[in-house]
């Protein structure tokens, strides 16, 4: 009887998950969708607690309480600028849980299961392990505990391929001799190492792709668990997550003009070394007052945020300045590049947090035709996503990447901390164009002073 109850609860949960994701197709229905998904999860948990195999509840309850306390407090107190780290950490925990279930399953049933079940179990452990360490490395890079620059060494690709081959080899050995626990645990350790080596060579600027990919792997690990313990809700939820991560990776890749293969083999993050455009033209510095006057008397202003806005915590200052301009009758819009920030949609969340209505957050395709009729484009801590070289210079490391064409605006103001090259290390010819003015200083500080100056203008 309880068996049927569990199955019904799983079916219900699966349906609710799909409805939940469907809700995300519009911001107005998103929260309701989310509540459906949460309810689905609750149903699945209750259904499982009635499972006939469960004889003792104490450890389950302790685990649920500790987990809720840790997860809840991290999610409650983390600032939105640190959203990518939190998400990466969450991936690590989820994947680790999936891997642990696999290990425990093997420990309990040994090699007695069918070959197919063993294969799923192995895939679960490998994917879970490599996602765990990969996500942890990503978290540390995003948090600044590890250097954000790509970590590379001679023969890295050969080494990584050998590591991968060794993992697959262990997998094969273990499938042939399922009782060989050594092979199983060796495989797990190798997979943990693969995860580290996979993410280390990737620079923080490429994190949106990595985050999406780890998201996908975490989902696939859950799917594999589902096959291993023949549980359909795991298969469904894992596949949904795997696909979502995969679709996001494809979108991110397209937005950076990189192929999926290029990403899968971790060959990126090194492109920046080439293309050293020498003989940069001088940049024109613009004063705060001149900027304020330009903004105050503009007809349309477009803000272009990048990761620099997040590090400067400047999202509220942007909104304040925008409010000041709107009060003067200026049309204000925001141009969001798909890979701006450190995870997909990062900039949207930050601006929404600062009370910017979502209808003003424009996607790349929507805003690009508007730049020629824009008086001032304000670039806040963004670099590669507005680099005209991607469009004009076929030899550039980012050639072909779709950009926000701010250089078509009548005037461009670039808020920048200093004269350095930014994360990617690429020259940006936008900065030396005649219609570009550089406003140096902390973005938040500059924006707040601009708001003051506009009020006075």
């Amino acid at each position: 009887m309880s068996h049927y109850f569990a199955e019904v609860s799983y079916l219900l949960a699966s349906i609710l998950f799909v409805f939940g994701l469907k809700g995300l197709s519009h911001p107005d229905s998103a929260r309701r969708g989310m509540h459906l998904a949460q309810f689905g999860m609750l149903m699945a948990i209750i259904g499982t607690l009635l499972h006939k195999d469960i004889v003792s509840y104490e450890w389950i309850i302790v685990g649920l309480i500790i987990g809720s306390a840790i997860g809840g407090s991290i999610a409650h107190f983390v600032p939105m600028t640190a959203l990518p780290q939190q998400t990466a950490l969450s991936h690590a925990f989820g994947a680790f849980a999936a891997a642990l279930v696999g290990v425990s399953e093997y420990h309990t049933h040994g090699g007695t299961a069918s070959h197919f079940t063993l294969g799923a179990l192995g895939a679960d452990v490998v994917l879970g392990s490599l996602t765990t360490t990969g996500s942890l490395i990503a978290t540390m890079k995003l948090q600044g505990w590890l250097p954000g620059a790509p970590f590379t060494f001679q023969g890295q690709k050969v080494f990584n391929l050998a590591l991968l081959a060794a993992t697959v080899g262990c997998f094969g050995w273990w499938l042939a001799v399922p009782s060989a626990a050594v092979a199983f645990y060796f495989m797990a350790v190798l997979a943990l190492t693969v995860g580290v080596m996979l993410v280390l060579p990737i620079g923080t600027a490429d994190m949106p792709v990595v985050m999406s990919l780890l998201n996908s792997y975490a989902g696939l690990a859950a799917t594999a668990t589902g096959f291993a313990i023949s549980n359909n809700v795991l298969i469904i939820a894992g596949t949904l997550n795997g696909f979502s991560g995969f679709i996001l990776s494809v979108i991110m890749c397209r937005a950076m003009n990189r192929s999926i293969r290029n990403v899968l083999f971790g060959a990126f993050g090194q492109a920046a070394e080439s293309a050293a455009a020498t003989g940069a033209e001088p940049m024109r510095e613009i004063s705060l007052d001149d900027t304020a006057v330009q903004l105050a008397y503009a007809r349309q202003v477009v803000f272009v945020p990048g990761y620099g806005m997040a590090t400067a915590q400047a999202q509220h200052a942007v909104h304040e300045l925008a409010g000041m301009l709107e009060a003067r009758g200026v049309i204000v819009k925001y141009a969001i590049h798909p890979v701006a920030g450190r995870m997909p949609g990062h900039m949207n969340v930050l601006l929404a947090e600062a009370n910017v209505p979502y209808s003003l957050l424009c996607e790349l395709e929507a805003i690009n035709p508007e730049f020629p009729s824009t008086d001032v484009a304000v670039v806040i801590g963004a670099n590669d996503v507005v680099n005209p070289d991607a469009r004009d210079n076929p030899g550039s490391a980012i050639a072909g990447m779709p950009i926000l064409e701010v250089d078509h605006a009548k005037s461009v103001i670039v808020l920048k901390r200093g004269q350095g090259k930014g994360f990617s290390g690429l020259e940006n010819p936008l900065f030396s164009k005649p219609n570009t003015g550089m406003l140096y200083g902390d973005a938040k500080d500059s924006l707040m002073r601009l708001a003051e100056a506009v009020r006075a203008a």
Partner: protein, 101 residues
């Protein structure tokens, strides 16, 4: 797993993939961050497997592994849903919808 169960599981997986593709490709880039944290929370469904492992008492080690898995998966589920909730609370309609007209 016997072949029949396997085939039906593969069916489930294939249909879920198809459904996932249809549903997720309609999510606007505006909501990509909440999408990622939601799917992340949903995949914490391995909690279901962890619970059975922790409660079945096959051996002391498997109970311990299960307990650890329950804790981690719960962090994943609760953290993922909570942060999504926080994010989605930010996205609201423009208060000045009338001002535009």
């Amino acid at each position: 797993m016997n072949p029949d169960a396997l085939i039906s599981s593969v069916y489930v997986c294939a249909l879920a993939a198809f459904l996932g593709y249809l549903v997720i490709s309609r999510v606007p880039s505006l909501l990509h961050s909440p999408l990622m944290s939601t799917t992340n929370a949903i995949s914490g469904i391995s909690l279901v497997g962890s619970i059975v492992t922790a409660g079945a008492q096959h051996s002391r080690l498997s109970t311990f592994l299960g307990f650890l898995a329950v804790t981690c998966a719960t962090i994943n589920v609760v953290g993922g849903f909570w942060i999504t909730e926080r994010m989605l609370r930010f996205f609201h309609k423009p208060p000045a919808a009338k001002r535009k007209e």
